[in-house]
Amino acid sequence: MNFGVIIKYWPRLWSGLQLTLLYSAIAIVLAIVWGVLIGAISYRKPPVIGQITRAYVCFFRETPLLVQLYFLFYGVSRYISVPAGFIGVLALVLNDGAFIAEIVRGGLQSLDPGQREAALSLGFNEFQTMIYFLIPQAWKKVLDSLINMMSIIIKDTSMLMWITICELNYQCNQVNIYSFDPISAYMFGAAVYLALFLIVQGVRRLIKVRSNRIDKRLNMKTNKEEVLNV
């Protein structure tokens, strides 16, 4: 590995890294919002919209992201003029949102149906029940999978290279073209992606440890209450 190459083309790589982080952040936030929305709808299964969301989730989970990007970028933007960045974020949100929707739906289904009935019997409507009772409980269960999805979204942003967005992978490719040094160029990119992956996994582990500790404390408390009640 030749560090001279990296130092020489540092401005390029740095701007690429910034774009990767920017697109990852936007896509992660929007994909989680979209995924929770779709997951809640497909959990409730309203007559027509439920069918549509099911078809959407099924279709977007079983087609490649690359083809979706090409379809949206070269197909749709031929008729409507939209910037590449918008299309890139849209494709990432639609694709990964479908995966997140399945995770959220699974989390909601694993809840006790009594929770929903109790909330409804207290006079909350369907929407309030979802927002105040079901989603917060499901959120705790699916958080681990959601953080895993975050690292997948960060990896998926590397596909945006093919729709003319100059993110990290594109810049690594350019550095290789300028310097004829594939090892330094791609190893740098790979190391950065690996570092991002490790950071996300570290956060995941931290949250796991913390939630385990809280669970233990809650369990102890409930045990104590039981003992006192007896």
Binding site: F71, G75, N169, A190
Partner: protein, 216 residues
């Protein structure tokens, strides 16, 4: 687009592109399964140094996008066709995922199962084929089928380095028949049909495995 053109486009994609895509899927699947099953078995034995090396391999393949590995191989290897480079990159990455799945399957079998089989005097081969493997299959078949769907979806990145699969053929048709929306929609449908068939097959297989092993 007239019907005649549409027919020509579809014919070109299916006759020239599909065999390459299917070959790509077949070869990647073969090597990925081979890597997954062999290395997963090795990993479940927990040999000191080998285990760390395989752990690093799994981490690298899970943390780095496939596309960067593919581009690196394409730039680094001066020999070999695009087809074999794609197969190498895809099967390396997917093999790492399958290795983890197979390892998880082996580790899910309790040690007491072995001991119980030994204590009633079953031969070793019988223990493996009738006691341990069915339990492993029960865990890994659903996960493995999901991973195979990911592999089929993943093979389309081979088009970006010029492997003449169905996506690349479609891209080459675009200058002549300039209807990107329709042509890419065909590709989406082709991949959707393949993956949906595999998902359906996976569900069916899962049911069969559960029925054979656990009973109704």
């Amino acid at each position: 687009m007239t019907w005649e053109e549409r027919f020509l486009v579809l014919k070109t994609m299916f006759v020239q592109g599909m065999p390459m895509t299917l070959k790509l899927i077949g070869a990647s699947l073969l090597f990925a399964l081979l890597i997954g099953i062999v290395l997963g078995t090795v990993r479940s034995m927990k040999i000191p140094v080998v285990d760390q090396i395989l752990g690093a391999y799994a981490l690298i393949c899970r943390g780095i996008p496939t596309i960067i590995i593919l581009l690196f191989f394409y730039a680094y290897f001066t020999r070999g066709t695009q087809f074999w480079i794609s197969v190498l990159a895809i099967s390396m990455v997917e093999g790492a995922y399958m290795m983890e799945i197979v390892k998880g399957g082996y580790l899910s079998v309790d040690k007491g199962q072995w001991e119980a089989a030994d204590s009633v005097g079953l031969p070793r081969l019988y223990t493996i084929t009738r006691i341990v493997l069915p339990q492993v299959m029960l865990v890994i078949v659903p996960a493995l089928m999901g991973q195979i769907v990911m592999l089929v979806k993943g093979t389309c990145v081979a088009a970006t380095i010029g492997c003449m699969d169905v996506l690349r053929r479609a891209q080459l048709l675009l200058p002549k028949y300039s209807y990107p929306l329709e042509i890419y929609a065909y590709i989406l449908v082709i991949f959707f049909v393949m993956c949906h068939f595999l998902t359906w097959l996976g569900k069916k297989l899962e049911r069969t495995v559960v029925k054979r092993i656990i009973g109704d």
